[in-house]
């Protein structure tokens, strides 16, 4: 009796060898709060001493498991505790920039592709440490290469902090495109996200934990393309089965890396994440379902069906679902999303509507560099409102392109892809975005008791 039929082996090989099935990220999440000190040099020294023992073993462990299984692990990432907490006793933006640079150097010298956690939770107000971090955002991201961060400006429990949203908008407009690609304003960001820029070591976690981010749109697109005339229930079922297999690979890799490192295995984020490569596109899945272009009428339906099937398949594949667990529609990081934006088929309004049924928001969309902060803040606040009203995590990652006009293209390269400048509309002033205060929480909060 054979262990596997040749067809079963062939299916897996086709996914791995020809459909770009790989693991997007293995993220080592480390509690860096023990490095809190009252002065900068002691804090930096404590941070390095705390992280080095983990980092010396992390990349070798990831490479060893990739070689053992024969599966590509695209990135090895580090997530640290929100840096705003380390800044509480320090309180100075210049210290925040030094911590940012130290994290960037630690990542680079240990073969870690990205480091996340240059972040603050400000959804109901801004503390001393948050203030220092937010003030430092443009400098910190402009002077680093691997560092990522976010400002969580809204939550279902406490509402939307408009002042934080406005300041995040101003910060983004002061960033180079390469820096803005590593920053998001977020709502309801969970504590165990393995994806950047939302990754950080949240509260309630052990000192170190491994979280895994899967990929695999090419696998699902191939399945959808093979079912040209199938009814919707059959299509949903086929996506669900493929998503199970994709997520299962994440579960295996997470278990193996965690065992190799001797740290607990945390969560698998089952979100299907695209890359700019041909055949690795979420928009490709939506178009294969029967859309002329991503962003056309029917896009919300297609994305809803896709995300629902991915969740149902993924839920069986890993018991500990974490992070954002939906689907990503970053414009620049998905070749067909970028193409749709370039053609004008995909608009910011379409992205907002699609956010109602996925976990992204407006992600990796280019904007002209001279857009007024009111407009950027209002755009961000719309997504914060969706997240709060629907009780889910969403974010906004905008890339200002100096001198850019709608339809222009800016090449960021690598996983970031090709940024298309999108039309933000004709309005120059949006007074609502400048109002102070916090939008109160929604009725979800009341229902929670």
């Amino acid at each position: 009796m054979r262990l596997f039929s040749p067809e079963e082996i062939g299916e897996v090989l086709e996914m791995i060898l020809f459909r770009e099935l790989d693991i997007r990220a293995v993220t080592l999440s480390v509690n860096t709060l023990p490095a809190i000190r009252g002065d900068l040099s002691s804090a930096l020294s404590a941070l390095r001493s705390l992280l080095r023992p983990y980092l010396e073993r992390f990349r070798p462990a990831v490479d060893k498991i990739a070689a053992k299984l024969g599966v590509r692990i695209v990135t090895a990432r580090l997530a640290v505790s929100p840096v705003s907490i380390m800044l509480e006793p320090l309180g100075r933006p210049e210290d925040a920039v030094e911590i940012a640079k130290a994290l960037d150097e630690l990542a680079e010298s240990h073969g870690v592709d990205m480091v996340g956690g240059f972040s603050a939770f400000v959804h109901a107000g801004i503390s001393r440490g948050d203030e220092a971090l937010m003030e430092a955002l443009p400098d910190a991201l402009n002077s680093t290469k691997r560092l990522s961060g976010f400002v969580n400006a809204a939550s279902t429990s406490t509402g939307i902090n408009m002042e934080a949203v406005f300041r995040a908008a101003e910060a983004v407009l002061s960033m180079r495109p390469e820096a803005a690609a590593r920053f998001a304003v977020t709502a309801n960001v969970p504590e165990d996200v393995p994806f950047m820029p939302a990754a950080h070591h949240g509260l309630g976690l052990p000192d170190a934990v491994i979280n895994v981010a899967v990929s695999g749109p090419g696998v699902i697109e191939a399945v959808v393309r093979s079912l040209k005339d199938a009814d919707l229930r059959t299509l949903h079922d086929a996506i669900k089965r493929a998503a199970f297999k994709v997520t299962r690979l994440g579960e295996l890799v997470g278990r193996e890396v965690a065992k190799e490192l001797g740290v607990p295995f945390g969560a698998v984020d089952l979100s299907v994440a695209p890359t700019p490569k041909v055949g690795d596109s979420v928009a490709g899945i939506l178009e294969a379902m029967g859309l002329p272009r991503a962003g056309s009428p029917g896009s919300v339906l297609a994305l809803y069906l896709f995300v629902d099937a991915v969740k149902k398949g993924g839920a069986m594949a890993t018991s500990t679902i974490g992070g954002l667990s939906g689907a990503f529609i970053p414009v620049s990081e998905d070749a067909l999303m970028a193409k749709a934006a370039e053609e004008g088929a995909l608009t910011l309004d379409a992205l907002k509507a699609m956010s109602a049924v996925c976990n992204t928001g407006i992600d990796m969309a280019g904007i002209p560099g001279d857009v007024p902060p009111d407009v950027v803040a209002a755009l961000m606040a719309d997504v914060m409102a969706l997240a709060t009203a629907l009780d889910k995590p969403l974010g906004v990652r905008l890339v200002p392109i100096p001198g850019g006009r709608p339809g222009d293209v800016y090449e960021l390269g690598g996983l970031y892809g090709k940024v298309v400048v999108m039309d933000v509309g004709k309005f120059k002033e949006i007074p609502l975005a400048k109002r102070k205060g916090v939008v109160p929480p929604s009725v979800w909060r009341l229902r929670a008791g």
Partner: protein, 90 residues
Amino acid sequence: MELVVVSVLGADRVGIVASIAGVLAKHNANIVDIAQTVVRDIFSMVMLVDISKADVDIAGLRAELEEAGRKLGVMVAVHHIDVFRYMQRV
């Protein structure tokens, strides 16, 4: 047993099975199962190989098999059996 799946794909020619099996034998890796076909001059082979008594690890074996594949002009891939167990069994 520690099982790995060795898969070979490419244009058919004389000596593919001999060459791949030669690398495995050299390192004391035991072929447990084999399925091989040629369809329209495309050679396809999947082997289940026990490497528990082999004198190299999976990465070392993969490197040598890939080198043998390059000389033959065929693609060789090596994956741990757990990948198939996880993805194809509930």
